[in-house]
Amino acid sequence: MYGIINKSIEDLVKANFGHDKWEIILKRSGVEVDFFISNEAYDDAITYKLAGAVAEVMEMPLGDVLEAFGEWWVLRTSKEKYGGLMAAGGENLRQFLHNLPAFHNRVMLIYPKLTPPEFRISDVSDRSIYVHYYSRREGLQDFVRGLLQGLGKLYETPVEVALIGSRLEGEDHETYQVSW
């Protein structure tokens, strides 16, 4: 993953628990990278280690950490760093989710070293939409849920995100029903 992800985790920890905690978490994770460069690709393992270390040090379930990170990613990292682009994603949640597949497809081209997930949507209605998440990475379901919840907050639209299909249940991707 690109450094911006790891950087985002770092920001999340620092903002919520302080610098010292980050140092502890970084040491605990065993990741020997002092500075993440946003556009540089890093081994996925680093991200997993960091998330794991946060969970250990803060004594939180990993799922909660990932979910929080998903929200953080949308509400802080994306908004701060790519605020315009995010705004250009759509005028409301529904439109953003609608544009989500195209958005990610464009990102794939921009970041050639990225192995981006693919999003699809279906079952679009006035009050809900199905978001299909295809990824080669394992264990990021809660992160995606956090992302979707974060988007709801970004567009000030209270949402409920339900994972209605998962690779853990034998399917080839995760399906989230986002209702508002």
Binding site: R28, I37, S38, N39, K81, Y82, L109, I110
Partner: protein, 1056 residues
């Protein structure tokens, strides 16, 4: 071509170019893309030039024709309604509709413009990379920002690193250059680094330190092991520790070290290493310990002093107070609780205790103000107590730091002093007025003081005596010499009392008893002596009279003894002849009538002998002559023998005689069987005498027992006339019979019961009579009897055999001046086949001994010409060892001792019982071979001799029986060994050695009070020196061994 041409609908055109517009030849906009319409309002129908401005190419006037000319070129068109918003694209001319189409999209510098125009991603054609371009730009912008941040971070880190480096260098320098020991260890406690300070401190070089266990290297036997364990445990738990510990050097010396240690953790919280600083605080700690010990001692002293102490600081706050102080002032709180309390008002609070409260308060204020030490102030309390107060201000470098109060309850001391003064006064008066003369002298014996009584006793005035040596005034030369000795004793600190004759001023000899004691001053220095004098002249005279009286009494007693001895001799000698004659007469063939007369005469003479014996027994008892012997005997046999003797008398009166012995009664006891038999015979004879019909019964039972003794109860019961209660109380009085008529009727001296009583008491027992007049009497003897040895009893019985066959043919010399007695002895001995040669006196006997061989000599003691003792002594000088038996009518011990000392071997009293005489002869010559082999038996039967007398040892022991026992044990242990050596010397004919050994053993034998043994040993010594002869020495040695063996046996019994 037509087939290949594509006709786009407006929707398709919008999909591909959502920002397109179309212009007709009038330059009006006849078509606007959906996205362009979002950012340009009222676009459709508007004039081109009022909506757009062609920025590139600039020079072209915006006409339809000109626009046509721009087909194929890149155009940049500005939206007039949206400043800085430009479109980038190209024109295409469609002749069929005479329309120019603009195909392009907006060109944004940043995504913000997109947002400002409310455009979203779906407003852009899918193939339009504009939005992606913006994304890339943003990403690059972020990347650039990252790099800036990174550079900034790196820069900060570099600066931090430099700072850290400097810090590290500084710390490293601190660690290295620190004179304290700095040590790093691995998690196992093994030293990985240390500084020079640690090397210096421990005495090891660094190579010896690295790799060693820190604790093992630093600590040793005196180190506090529990503190070390705690330190290690705390460090392992990540807790830093500081403690003071005894640390060891390489040379095994130690010092007090302050050890600070802590764990260094890694990022995972695991122990990476330990770090310790060791500081040598030995001097400080020792000083602290000394200070603490000193303070503790001081505090303890103060706390435990018998004086109430209160230490206040300069602000009058209590620093220390003790229990006694609290008790004195009735303060209920514990002393420790008062520390820190303010004493400002304490005088006011406690003034009520004192007789003069206001004075107490004002005096304290005065003292505190003065800050000058105060001592010995007496304070009277209301309750009658008296306190003594002292005050001591404390200054430190001239700065007042507080003060110490001390209060002591001196009530008792003051009262005691008062009492003492009164007593002193009293005694001074007593001394001054007493009849005892008191004199005090200095070390030169010069008189310092003499009381009135002394002046009266001596006749001198005080001024005559003071400063002078009283000895010279009052004493003669010999008394002065004695006083010199006393003076020497006083100088050694000894006091004593003595009597001394003095001459008073009038020249009269007076006897004084003086109690003298050394005199000391208050510091304990000897300053002279004090003597108390009592004039005992009157007592002395009385004493001298008493001594004379005593000597007279003793002389009288001696005269009585001599009289008794003479009487004994004088009476026994003819009685011996009379009894002997009757004995021989009975052996002759005489008529029945004469036989009856002889029988009666024999009985009468036996009775007479019995009375004489009783009188002699009483005399012996009174003179302390009678001794209780200790030999192994059977009480059953004694009882049976006694019954046997009285049997005939009982039969004559048709009385039933019963002897009942409890099976519990032991077979053998140690005691005087002859004396027990005597008592039994007396009791039985009385019982038979006073019983006309019925029975006489002896019952012997065990009343009590322990491991060594049985207490026997021997009851003699008769059915006789009985006794009045009043007489029973006097039954043991001498010469008592119930009434005169009884004496006449039954005969007897009235001594029997008195003798029995005395004998039983001498044996440690008691005797109890009980009787009912007309019904009978029981005399109960209670006698403690130690167990004896059956083996020894057997030997005695062999020795006491009544078979005298072996005496046949023995040749005996009889030295006897009395022809009747010679005749009696002649008759008796011949009857047993013994050949007898007679000598009328000692001199003839000695002469016969020079020329003839005899198996034994019977030697009368009192003979004319030469008595038996002298004769024996002379015979013994011939080196002749023929046994000599004394024959004497004197039954007193003194004579027996004299006989043995003269060299006789045995003793038979006259008138002799035939059996006793024969047994004695048989023992000494008939069983000649058995003498050495059975010395104990012999000793037992000849044990009328006093074997030992510990009076000398007891004198030395002064009541310490343990010492006496030790001496006896030593004798028992040592003497046989000396005798064994003497035997060896004899065998080797080493007479000087034999003499030396005899000489050596003599004092021990003498100390043990063994005259017989002493006599023999002395002979051995003399003989070895002057005329050594092996045979004679052999006999003496045998005699000595026999006596020694017997003495040891008795000693062992007496001192178990």
């Amino acid at each position: 071509m037509e087939k290949a041409s594509i006709i786009l609908s407006d929707a398709q055109l919008n999909g591909l170019f959502p920002f397109h517009f179309k212009v007709d030849p009038t330059m009006r906009l006849i078509g606007c893309g959906k996205s362009l319409s979002k950012i340009v309002s009222n676009c459709l129908g508007a004039k081109f030039e009022s909506t757009f401005r062609l920025l590139r190419p600039l020079t072209i006037e915006p006409t339809f024709e000109n626009l046509q000319g721009l087909v194929g070129q890149m155009l940049v068109i500005e939206l007039l309604a949206r400043a800085k918003t430009v479109l980038r694209g190209t024109f295409e001319y469609f002749p069929a509709t005479d329309t120019i189409l603009f195909a392009g999209s907006p060109w944004f510098d940043s995504v913000d413009q997109v947002v400002e125009l409310n455009l979203v991603i779906s407003d852009f054609a899918v193939q339009d990379p504009m939005i992606d371009l913006l994304h890339v730009l943003k990403t690059q912008e972020i990347g650039t920002e990252d790099i800036k941040q990174l550079l900034n971070t790196v820069n900060l880190q570099r600066k931090a690193l430099e700072r850290d480096k400097i810090e590290l260098q500084r710390l490293s320098l601190v660690a290295r250059a620190n004179h304290n020991g700095v040590v790093f260890t691995d998690p196992q406690g093994t030293i990985t680094w240390c500084n020079e300070g640690f090397c210096n401190m421990s005495g090891y070089i660094i190579g010896e330190i690295i790799g060693k266990a820190f604790v093992a290297m630093l600590c040793g036997p005196l180190s506090d092991q529990s503190a070390i364990r705690k330190m290690v445990d705390n460090c392992n738990d990540g807790i830093s520790v500081e403690l003071e510990l005894i640390c060891y050097r390489k040379d095994a010396g130690w010092f007090w070290g302050n050890v600070k240690s802590q764990a260094i953790l890694n990022e995972r919280g695991e122990i990476q290493e330990f770090f310790a600083i060791v500081e040598d605080v030995h001097a400080r700690t020792m000083a602290q310990q000394r200070l603490e010990a000193s303070e503790s001692r001081l505090s303890t002293v103060i706390r435990n002093m018998d004086i109430g102490l209160l230490l206040e600081d300069e602000h009058r706050k209590i620093v220390l107070v003790n229990r006694v102080f609290c008790d004195l002032f009735g303060i209920p709180a514990p002393p420790a609780a008062l520390v820190g309390a303010d004493c400002a008002n304490s005088a006011e609070e406690s003034k009520g205790l004192f007789e003069q409260p206001e004075l107490f308060v004002s005096r304290i204020q005065q003292i505190l103000k003065g800050r000058v030490a105060v001592t010995g102030e007496a304070l009277l309390l209301q309750d009658g107590r008296i306190f003594e107060r002292a005050y001591l201000p404390i200054f430190e470098f001239e700065t007042y730091k507080g003060h110490l109060w001390s209060y002591q309850d001196t009530t008792e001391t003051v009262n005691h002093s008062k009492k003492l003064r009164m007593q002193e006064e009293k005694y001074r008066n007593i001394i001054a007025n007493m009849n005892l003369g008191l004199i005090e002298v200095d070390l030169e014996e010069k008189v310092k003081y003499a009381n009135q009584s002394f002046l009266e006793m001596s006749g001198y005035e005080l001024e005559d005596l003071v400063g002078r040596d009283a000895r010279k005034l009052l004493m003669d030369e010999s008394a002065r010499m004695m006083m010199d000795e006393k003076q020497r004793m006083r100088h050694e600190g000894n006091a004593d009392m003595y009597e001394i004759p003095v001459r008073n001023l009038q020249g009269d000899i007076r006897w004084w008893i003086i109690s003298g004691a050394p005199s000391y001053d208050d510091a304990g220095n000897l300053i002279g002596s004090i003597g108390i004098h009592l004039d005992i002249t009157a007592q002395k005279l009385m004493e001298q009279e008493l001594i004379v009286a005593k000597a007279k009494a003793e002389e009288s007693s001696r005269a009585k003894e001599i009289f008794l001895a003479n009487m004994s001799h004088e009476m026994r000698t003819p009685l011996n002849a009379i009894i002997g004659v009757f004995r021989e007469l009975k052996r002759t063939d005489i008529s029945p009538a004469n036989s009856s007369y002889v029988e009666k005469a024999h009985a009468a003479s036996d009775h007479l002998l019995s009375m004489i014996n009783n009188i002699l027994d009483i005399s012996k008892i009174e003179a302390g002559e009678l001794r209780i012997e200790k030999q192994h005997f059977s009480i059953r046999k004694v009882l049976a023998a006694a019954i046997d003797i009285v049997h005939v008398e009982a039969q004559k009166k048709h009385l039933t005689l019963k002897n009942i012995v409890d099976p519990e009664v032991a077979e053998v006891y140690i005691g005087d069987d002859l004396r027990i038999r005597q008592v039994l015979l007396n009791l039985l004879s009385n019982a038979i005498k006073f019983t006309e019909q019925g029975s006489v019964t002896v019952i012997c039972t065990v009343q009590a027992a322990n491991a060594t003794h049985q207490t026997l109860r021997i009851a003699v019961t008769d059915t006789g006339i009985g006794m009045e209660k009043a007489f029973l109380e006097n039954i043991f009085h001498k010469f008592s019979q119930e009434d005169a008529s009884t004496g006449r009727r039954y005969g007897g001296t009235g001594l029997g019961m008195a003798i029995s009583h005395e004998l039983i008491q001498m044996m440690g027992g008691d005797i109890y009579p009980s009787s009912q007049l007309g019904k009978g009497t029981t005399i109960e003897v209670i006698l403690p009897m130690p167990f004896g040895n059956p083996e020894l009893l057997q030997i005695e019985e062999v020795a006491g055999s009544l078979d005298f066959q072996e005496l046949v043919g023995k040749h005996i010399l009889l030295a006897e001046d009395n022809p009747m007695n010679r005749m009696v002895a002649q008759a008796s001995l011949r009857h047993y086949g013994i050949e007898l040669t007679e000598a009328e006196n000692g001199r003839i006997a000695v002469a016969l001994m020079r020329t003839q061989q005899f198996d034994l000599v019977l030697m009368d003691v009192q003979m004319p010409e030469m008595d038996g003792l002298s004769a024996t002594k002379e015979i013994r000088t011939f080196d002749l060892h023929t046994p000599i038996v004394a024959l004497s009518a004197n039954a007193f011990q003194r004579e027996i001792d004299q006989c043995l000392a003269a060299g006789m071997n045995g003793y038979v009293t006259k008138p002799f019982e035939e059996i006793v005489l024969l047994q004695t002869i048989q023992r000494l010559c008939g069983h000649a071979e058995a003498i050495v082999a059975t010395p104990i038996a012999q000793a037992a039967t000849t044990s009328t001799f006093k074997l030992y007398d510990l009076i000398k040892i007891r004198d030395i022991a002064r009541g310490n029986e343990g010492f006496v026992k030790q001496m006896v044990d030593l004798f028992i242990d040592e003497t046989p060994r000396v005798f064994a050596n003497m035997e060896t010397a004899w065998a080797a004919q080493d007479y000087p050695k034999l003499k030396g050994l005899a000489h050596r053993i003599k004092p021990s034998v003498e100390a043990m009070g063994m005259p017989a043994l002493h006599n023999v040993v002395k002979k051995i010594e003399v003989l070895s020196l002057q005329a050594p002869e092996q045979g004679a020495l052999r006999t003496l040695l045998d005699q000595a061994q026999v006596i020694l063996a017997e003495a040891i046996l008795v000693l062992q019994t007496d001192f178990p």
